[in-house]
Amino acid sequence: MKFGVVRFPGSCDEMDALLACRRYADAELLWHGDQDLKGVDVVVIPGGFSYGDYLRVGAIARFSPVMGAVQEHARAGGLVFGICNGFQVLCEAGLLPGALLPNNGLRFLCRQVEVEVVNADTPFTHGSDAGQVLSVPVKHMSGRYYAPEEMLGEMDAHGQIILRYRAGFNPNGSVADIAGVANEAKNVMGLMPHPEHAVDPLTGSTDGGLLFESLARHADALAAA
């Protein structure tokens, strides 16, 4: 099983994501200018500022060559995991519902928050229990999740809301405290918190490891089947 972490010219957390993945499986970097996904099982779109995040977060990155391949990978049922800026890119690319708007406070915010697993029945979260609380950091300027009400209703009905900020921890004004969502097929997920910064007791909590571990196990099980 192998993770592939996409590197855009303005990615910041790609090495962090790579190291986090490597705790649980093989992982390598994918270059934004290549269309070749090198046969990876899970594509990770990491945090950062992909193409400088000018105009609108994620707006330009979605047109990169690698994103064409990621679209195909996703359409074929392949796993795609977007963290922070990666989440924004996946929303812009239409792989995930909704959009991410500037934080209510209009400032960049870096802090440890608590999120609750809403749906533990996905490739990303099956290693956890519904209701389980994870301590993970957020650090972003545009993390206010938004989807029109109707869309939210459908997402809820389809179990697409994967993570919510716990009461008192919503850092950005996200609608319904949403911190992470998936597509209907549950093979694409995005979240604003940074699980890759919660994998090592030396540098913080280890709760984020659960997501990478779930993905690695899931992909292994698929391969074995």
Partner: protein, 731 residues
């Protein structure tokens, strides 16, 4: 270049008549307009250090860990295992006073370039900020803009901002200070110098196109006193583009990795003029530059504009012609513009061409080394030159004083500020802001072994009281912060922010402060690896507080053992270590009480303080202590309160039955050399063998309680609320 009709051009450019004459002598003729512009910048205070160079000579720059000392873009120390840490602090005060967001952002961009110019990958940023009191709208605007700007640049480029400091006082009202420090990591054998080498080699400009940014910035913006005519300097604001710098940085690091470059230099103040002549000077060569080959953002730029433009995100390198293809390939991959703009010659002259036409021709040595250096004429003022601050606290009730101090903007929690900075990217951050007295970073996030700690300090009010002792205190505080996380100092960088050195009392501040810096470094055996000097920080109200900012890097044996600031375990013994001499004059409490600044601080026994710091460091390294924190602003009781707040747990103290005559001074007076530690009884007993130590309390409960000789009980909640006072500045 039309100068003001009544003033000769050289004067308008900031050169004295005798400097102008000297330039003519060096050239053997009158300089033309371009040459005059280049000379005026190279001979500005900012580039030539003409009022500070002689003083800097007394700083110790040798040490067993030193790899690169002053003179390079950044200094560097070895941290073992073949790894080097390069670091430097730099000011961007005047640009930030004009436009705080862009000024601070480009300040960060500039210090990052200095660090990757020596071949090190930036791994951490720290900031040191000074503003007027936050009751002033202008100060809030400057604070907000500077913090957003620093965050914008650091967060976007993916380098964590792991620490910093900020103070608010009247003398910074018109002239704020924005200093930024950056640390980078490199293999020792990969550090690169900026000396141009190899006649016939090519000079390549990489990165952003050149526009009319900051034309004359170095001499007009960075070296003239601010006045009400700020408005006329407007067009010179530079805009930072962290996304451009990110690509330039990655391209440069990859080029260095592959050994493609012969030398590398960033473009900062005075742009191409300064970077090219510095490279030529260090390499003892000449350079021919064709301004016609410089990629421009605006049409019709004059050669002089191209040479002195301060457009950001540009780097200059020298490479062998055969390696040009390799460079172009890497630049293309990172979408970085590159252009061959000249070549290395043996003429030892900087020749500027436009196509075939020579538009400027100057001896490199004249530009870089021949600027006259000036002796300062220091005179100690007979009385304190700074006005007493306004009195804002009347109460002498200890609980009220404690809460007033905790909510003072100089002491309150910095959380509303540092939460705007990404402190995590890179996966190296072991101790985040406010978790420990110094930031702690692991060197290799993959292996987890090897760690450093870093701290930046400098309390201008203390230096204003006593430039010598105040500067010594700044160095000691930095070292104390490192000791609390178990780190041994390896090297020091500094930024000397002062007023106009041509004024005798400012000259005195500068020379006393530099002497204090040198003595403290010698006493601690820490070399100065580099730094920066920012002078003319004045306004109509007079000079800023003299503000030497000290950044120190140390190494740890085990990052996991770095002690936190906060109390951790109920039942732990609380002890006070060291023998400081707490003293109210010059303290934060004295400030709140509107007391005038004294003209002297008590002398410090440097050797004794060093010994105490070593004792704390060794105890922390042994892993026995639960927490360690140095006593600094606000004195003893504030230090204890900070331990309670950081740990989210209270403490009860028994300070004995003899009430000290002046308990206010004893509880809230300031002085270097004191530490608050907590830990199990045995650990405290062990520590008592190597440092004077008083056990006087126990960790636990929901309040900070003093049982004897005075009665005091302040709940955690009230302390937390007081300490949250800075949030109101960011609404």
């Amino acid at each position: 270049m039309s100068a003001n009709a009544t003033v000769p051009a050289h004067q308008a450019l900031g050169l004295t008549d005798s400097e102008f004459e000297l330039i003519g002598e060096k050239l053997g003729r009158e300089p033309n307009g371009l040459e005059l512009a280049v000379f005026s910048l190279m001979w500005s205070e900012h580039c030539a250090y003409k009022h500070s160079k002689k003083l800097l000579g007394q700083l110790p720059t040798e040490g067993k860990h030193l790899l690169l000392g002053p003179g390079e873009n950044a200094g560097a120390v070895t941290v073992g295992g073949g790894k080097a840490i390069a670091f430097k602090v730099e000011s961007h005060n005047h640009p930030s006073a004009v436009e705080p967001f862009q000024g601070a952002a480009t300040g960060v961009g500039g210090i990052l370039r200095d660090v990757f110019a020596v071949g090190a990958r930036p791994i951490a940023i720290l900031d040191s900020l000074r503003f007027g009191e936050l009751s002033s709208g202008r100060s809030r605007y400057l604070l907000d803009g500077a913090v957003s700007g620093i965050g914008h640049y650091g967060n976007s480029i993916g380098v964590p901002t792991v620490g910093g400091e900020v103070y608010f006082e009247g003398p910074y009202e018109q002239n704020c200070l924005v200093n930024a420090m950056c640390l980078g990591i490199a293999d020792e054998d990969r550090l690169i110098r900026s000396a141009a080498a190899g006649v016939g080699n090519l000079l390549v400009l990489m990165g952003a196109r050149t526009g009319r940014d900051g034309i004359g910035g170095a001499s007009v913006l960075a070296s003239a006193e601010l006045d009400s005519e700020d408005a006329s300097k407007r067009p010179t604001v530079q805009i930072g583009d962290p996304f451009e710098e990110k690509r330039v940085m990655e391209a440069c690091l990859e080029l260095l990795d592959r050994g493609t470059l012969a030398s590398l230099q960033d473009l900062g103040a005075a742009g191409l003029a300064s970077s090219s002549s510095e490279m030529a000077s260090k390499g003892e060569v000449g350079l021919d530059i064709d301004v016609g080959k410089v990629p421009l953002r605006e049409e019709d730029m004059e050669p002089f504009e191209i040479m002195v433009s301060e457009s950001q995100e540009r780097m200059l390198c020298v490479i062998e012609p055969a390696k040009l293809g390799e460079l172009e390939e890497i630049c293309e991959r990172w979408e970085v513009r590159s252009a061959v703009i000249g070549e290395v010659t043996d003429s030892r002259r900087l020749r500027i061409l436009r196509g075939d036409e020579v538009v400027g021709d100057m001896p490199v040595e004249a530009l870089v080394d021949d600027c006259p250096l000036y002796d300062l004429e220091p005179t100690a003022p007979t009385e304190q030159i700074y006005p007493a601050p306004p009195r804002v606290l009347d109460s002498e009730d200890p609980a009220e004083v404690l809460l007033a101090l905790l909510s003072s903007h100089n002491i309150a929690s910095r959380r509303p500020l540092f939460e705007q900075y990404d402190c995590l990217v890179g996966s190296r951050t072991v101790r985040r802001p406010q978790e420990a007295d110094a930031a702690v970073l692991i060197l290799d996030p993959e292996e987890g072994n090897g760690a450093i700690a870093v701290s930046i300090d400098g309390n201008g009010r203390r230096v204003a009281c006593d430039p010598y002792a105040g500067t010594v205190e700044a160095v000691l505080e930095c070292a104390a912060n490192l000791a609390c996380v178990g780190a041994e100092p390896l090297g020091l960088t500094n930024c000397l922010n002062f007023g106009n050195p041509e004024k005798p009392h400012v000259a005195w501040q500068l020379s006393e402060s530099t002497r204090g810096l040198a003595d403290a470094c010698r006493a601690l055996d820490v070399p100065v690896v580099g730094g920066n000097v920012s002078l003319y920080n004045e306004s109509g109200d007079g000079p800023i507080y003299p503000t030497p900012v000290v950044g120190m890097v140390g190494s740890l044996t085990d990052a996991a053992l770095a002690a936190p600031t906060g109390f951790r375990r109920k039942g732990d013994v609380v002890a006070f270590c060291g023998e400081p001499m707490p003293h109210l004059p010059g303290s934060e409490l004295a400030k709140l009480q509107g007391e005038p600044l004294p003209t002297e601080l008590p002398a410090v026994d440097l050797a004794a303080v060093r010994g105490w710091q070593e004792a704390i460091r060794e105890a922390v390294r042994g892993g026995e202590l639960s927490s360690a924190h140095d006593m600094a602003d606000g004195g003893f009781l504030v230090a204890i309160a900070e331990c309670c707040l950081a740990g989210g747990i209270g403490a009860s103290l028994d300070l004995g039955d003899t009430p000290p005559a002046a308990w206010l001074g004893w509880l809230f007076g300031e002085s270097p050399g004191g530490f608050v530690v907590s830990g199990p009884t045995e650990a405290i007993e062990d520590l008592a063998e190597s440092i004077p130590l008083d056990r006087f309390g126990t960790v636990g409960g929901e309040a900070l309680v003093i049982e004897r000789p005075i009665e005091l009980s302040v709940s955690l909640e009230r302390m937390r609320e007081a300490s949250g006072a800075l949030a109101e500045a960011f609404l």
